[in-house]
């Protein structure tokens, strides 16, 4: 499930910062452990000179915890469950009540921005005081100057990104919030130029020049400089999907963008505004000179969820006391009304995006109650019988056989480059967003990958490798066919076709496949095409004097594999075994000779090629009668027939 794909993001918070809003005797290690067990994972805790730094992973559903205040509130809910006293102390925020109107007309698009707050302030730009600098740097944020530092400090404390413009450089009567048009160019405050793709949220001045890339990064033409005297402190709560697209497409992964794309509670915007103003006053001689403009078209709706008491027990598997449930929910800022068989839960605004159904509420109850307090029970076995002699059984069996035949198993990537694809790539299953040009086409043969392994292991004189993996065939308007395929390579001096053939014959014989047919390959290769009766199975190819490969359709093997065993009673009468040496032209197949010999009498129970020497082939012939002892005369008659048949049909010489 996890493994990087839907991961959260990490935040660094100082213990001293946290304790401004959290009153508790818990040690940093206790806070860290209890949070990890019931809330967010504290990945690391680092000891500093006079402080501790927590590195915390925040999952994407909890942007409300991406701040000092968020963590303080959560810790205050969690710690008492472990018998440790803890209390959340909210920051003291004050509204200055200035009458002066905000001087710029802002035209918002409610589809793009949920809320805009803006204020004009007079400031003195300078370096931040030591403690602000140190706190920022320890939290992984670079300290630049007191103005920029305030915006970052507010974001980290409250959990809402903020922005400043130089009011005088902005020099406009109007700001228009709109989607960018494709091809518009911007220069960000770090001096890099980007061409916009369209759909980014931007602010344009009265000359229609872009002055901000909202929610992602400020621009060079409106950023504060060392000469800045007046600023607009600007807070924008944005539609998250626009932000993510802009940030990912342009490759600008600022902390503000990462937060903004998570859908932050717009009710936090005002806290961020008031806290920011107080910080400008404190560290930048800030003076608020306009009212706070508040454009708030998209207020969150309140939400009530019914949670059935029975459902709580069903999912947790235990009975949790109703009073305990209410206590837990209220500690997390939910409001509750106890009904007959259920609890009516009112969701706080910071959790509106995350809490949707009763299972979400049950998670809140269960995690704070403590997963370690829930017992472990194995689920019962079921009444559904299933055979263990299934495809997985055969896969395992054949892999084991290969291992004991001296083969080493490889796992190569399912995607290959154009060079490694067999045939025209227009027929390939193609990845539209490959990671590199080496991984573009879903392969239709394992052989090129295995040949790559051979060439990557040049120093090995003898190599026997195999792989069992899917190959892929494109289908129109449907999922591609996935064909499980078994392939192998033998590399050695004087590699022998018959070795590869013998291995395949033995392997398949062992799993009950006895009617294997080898025909001269119709492909442009020296080798054989394999069939089980009339069904095509695959190929053995001789690539070079020291290199042989084979590739078999494993699905067909699976269709024919059988674990069925048959007992045949022992023969009552002994066989007579004779060798017969025959010289024939090399255009004659051994199989044809064997068939010819066999067809002479049904007393011939087996014929096999026993030896070859120059042009001579020696066949071992087994004669046996189930009803009686064979005599020399019986055999001699058949032998005469065999010889005359071979002489007649194959111009054979008999030695």
């Amino acid at each position: 499930m996890k493994e990087g794909l839907f991961n959260g993001m990490n935040i660094k918070i100082l213990d001293s910062q946290l304790r401004q809003y959290l009153k508790t005797k818990a040690t940093p290690f206790e806070i860290s452990e209890k949070l990890s067990l019931t809330s967010v994972s504290v990945e690391r805790i680092e000891k500093l000179a006079n402080d501790f730094c927590y590195e915390i992973e925040i999952t994407t559903n909890r942007p409300d915890l991406f701040s000092v205040l968020g963590i303080a509130k959560e810790a205050a809910a969690v710690l008492p469950q472990f018998g440790i006293e803890a209390k959340y102390i909210p920051p003291a925020l004050r509204n200055n009540q200035i009458k002066e109107k905000f001087p710029i007309e802002i035209i918002n698009n409610p589809k793009l921005v949920n809320r805009i707050l803006a204020v004009v302030m007079e400031v003195e730009i300078a370096q931040s005081p030591k403690e602000i600098k140190e706190t920022l740097e320890s939290s992984g944020i670079r300290s630049l100057n007191n103005i920029i530092d305030v915006t970052n400090y507010v974001m980290r404390t409250i959990g809402h990104p903020t922005h400043v413009f130089d009011f005088d450089r902005l020099n406009t009567k109007k700001l228009l919030i709109r989607e960018a048009k494709g091809g518009e160019k911007i220069t960000t405050l770090d001096g890099k130029t980007y061409t916009l793709l369209g759909s980014e949220i931007i602010a344009a001045n009265d000359k229609d020049e872009i002055v901000d890339l909202l929610g992602v990064m400020g621009l060079e033409n409106s950023v504060v400089t060392s000469n800045t005297k007046r600023i607009i402190y600007f807070i924008d709560n944005n539609e998250p999907i626009h932000i993510r697209r802009a940030s990912m497409d342009l490759g600008i992964r600022t902390e503000a963008a990462v937060l903004n794309e998570k859908d932050i509670d717009p009710n936090l915007s005002m806290d961020a505004m008031l806290y920011g103003i107080s910080l400008f006053e404190k560290i930048a001689h800030g003076k608020q000179v306009s009212e706070i403009l508040d454009i708030y078209p998209n207020k969150p709706l309140s939400k009530t969820i019914q949670v059935s008491l029975e459902k709580i027990n069903k999912i947790t598997g235990i009975n949790i006391d109703t009073q305990k449930i209410i206590e837990i929910l209220e500690s997390l800022n939910f409001k509750t009304n106890l009904k007959k068989d259920s609890i009516e839960v009112i969701v706080p605004s910071e959790r509106l995006k995350d809490i949707e159904i009763q299972e979400d509420i049950i998670e809140e109850i269960a995690r704070i109650y403590g997963y370690e307090n829930i017992p472990s029970v194995l689920p019962s076995l079921t009444n559904n019988p299933h055979s263990f002699i299934n495809n997985f059984y055969w896969e395992k069996k054949l892999k084991q056989a290969f291992k004991y035949y001296g083969f080493t198993e490889c796992y190569t990537y399912s995607f290959v480059s154009e060079d490694m694809y067999e045939g025209p790539v227009s027929e390939a299953v193609e990845i539209s967003n490959p990671l590199t040009t080496d991984f573009v086409y879903m392969r239709n043969s394992l052989i090129p990958s295995l040949l790559q392994v051979v060439s990557d292991n040049k120093t090995q004189e003898e190599i026997k490798i195999f792989e069992l993996a899917n190959i892929y065939n494109k289908k129109n308007n449907n999922l591609p066919d996935e064909i499980l395929t078994l392939s192998g390579i033998i590399k050695k001096r004087h590699a022998n076709f018959y070795e590869a053939k013998g291995i395949i014959e033995q392997l398949l014989f062992d799993i009950g496949i006895k009617n294997l047919i080898f025909k001269t390959s119709k492909k442009n290769a020296i080798g054989a095409s394999l069939f089980i009766e009339n069904t095509y199975l695959g190929e053995i190819e001789v690539l070079d004097t020291d290199l042989i490969d084979f590739e078999l359709n494993f699905e067909i093997i699976l269709n024919h594999a059988t674990a069925k065993k048959e007992y045949k009673s022992f023969a009552k009468y002994p066989p007579i075994i004779e060798d017969l040496s025959v010289i024939v032209g090399n255009e004659v197949n051994t199989e044809a000779l064997i068939e010819a010999i066999k067809s002479q009498s049904n007393l011939i129970t087996d014929v096999s090629l026993n030896d070859t020497y120059l042009a001579s082939r020696t066949f071992r012939i087994v004669y046996q009668d189930e009803e009686k002892n064979l005599t020399k005369d019986d055999v001699s008659k058949i032998r005469t027939q065999i010889i005359s048949s071979l002489e007649k049909n194959f111009k054979a010489q008999i030695k």
Binding site: M1, K2, E3, G4, F6, S36, L37, T38, S41, R44, T59, R62, I241, E261, K314, I315, G317, I318, I357, E359, I362, E363, A366, Y371, E372, I374, S376, V377, L378, P379, S380, T382, N384, H386, F388, F392, K396, K399, K403, G406, T408, E409, C410, Y411, S414, V429, E430, I431, S432, L435, M442, V453, D456, N457, Q460, K464, I465, L479, P480, E482
Partner: protein
């Protein structure tokens, strides 16, 4: 006649003593005691001598025969012993044996066989689903909203071609969870499913390969609760990692489970005390959770009646978490260096 018998005895005894191997001893035996051996022939002659002398000669002949037989037996023992000594002297037991070539199964195969056996022993049955699948099974049916980041081009591999109106794009499964709704849709309850398969994500670094393997468990039944997830997890951890390792679940977030968990196992090196390889004694193994009601619904089940749990863990990850396998770059697993593969 008596002299002849004594002469035979002496000749025989000297032949016997001079025999250097069992074969020449056997020849000597035939020469004297065989059907036409010297002693046999001499004894046949006894009938030709006068009757009164016969008993004395008969007794002598018997003594001669007995003496020769005893001498033969004696020498045979001696020579047998000598023969064995000669053979044993020729074996240097420290010389190398004649070994058949031994191949190697890939570490991933070895891990997935072990994992399968553990889950099969508690009633899970192994299933297989498409590796290349619709967006629907990978995301939509698993409660991912339309614009979820996991669907972005930079996380998941997509296949070129037209989008299906209902099923969406075709993609390489980014997780084994793609099998969940496919399994529920079969309508065969209760479910105890295990799915081990190749997965693909757009990532490549020391701890990620673009192709990897996951194993997914899905249990759906009436009254399945968190207790059962914990029970299954404990059973797996103890069976796979050993009795000394412990497991725990912590809150996490996934779209398709609610509640969702992160699963930790105590570190194999410090066994939970805390060391530089782990986080305060714990290592993350992967995700798990109670099946989201929307996922049950997508598969056609009523979440009021049925509940379930699911987990999906990385095969490579649990392999690395086993003590003894400190592989510092995961990409080595798929490098197919024979020097690496032949170690296992």
């Amino acid at each position: 006649m008596e002299e002849e018998l004594i002469g035979i005895k002496n000749t025989a005894l000297s032949f016997i003593l001079e025999a250097e191997d069992l074969q020449s001893l056997e020849d000597t035996k035939l020469q004297f005691l065989g059907r036409s051996g010297k002693l046999t022939l001499a004894i046949k002659e006894i009938t030709k001598i006068p009757l009164e002398k016969r008993p004395a000669v008969g007794i002598l002949a018997n003594e001669v025969k007995k003496t020769i037989e005893e001498a033969l037996l004696q020498q045979e023992k001696l020579l047998s012993k000598k023969k064995n000594e000669n053979i044993l002297k020729k074996i240097d037991v420290t010389n190398p044996g004649v070994k058949p070539t031994l191949g190697h199964l890939h570490l991933v195969t070895q891990a997935l066989e072990e994992i399968s056996t553990i889950f099969e022993s508690i009633g899970f049955s192994k299933e297989k689903y498409p590796e290349i699948d619709w967006d629907y099974y990978a995301f939509s049916a698993l409660n991912f909203p339309k614009d979820h980041p996991a669907r972005d081009d930079w996380e998941t591999f997509f296949i070129k071609g037209e989008e299906d109106k209902k099923m969406g794009k075709i993609l390489l499964s980014p997780h084994t969870s793609t099998g969940q709704v496919r399994e529920i849709e079969k309508g065969k309850l209760p479910i105890r499913m295990l799915n081990i398969a190749k997965c693909y994500r757009r990532q490549s670094d020391v701890s990620h390969t673009p192709m990897f393997h996951q194993f997914e468990g899905l249990v759906v039944d009436k009254n399945i609760s968190i207790t059962h997830l914990k029970g299954t997890l404990d059973y797996f951890v103890k069976s796979y990692f050993g009795d000394k390792r412990k497991s725990r679940i912590r809150p996490y977030h996934f779209q398709f489970t609610e509640p969702s968990f992160e699963v930790d196992v105590t570190c194999g090196v410090c066994l939970g005390k805390g060391c530089r390889l782990c986080k305060a004694g714990w290592l993350e193994m992967g995700g798990a959770g109670m099946v989201h009601p929307n996922v049950l619904k997508a598969g056609g089940l009523d979440p009021k009646i049925y509940t379930g749990f699911a987990f999906g863990w990385g095969v490579e990850r649990v392999l690395m978490m086993k003590a003894g396998l400190e592989i510092d770059d995961l990409r080595l697993l798929y490098s197919n260096k024979l020097e690496f593969l032949s170690q296992f």
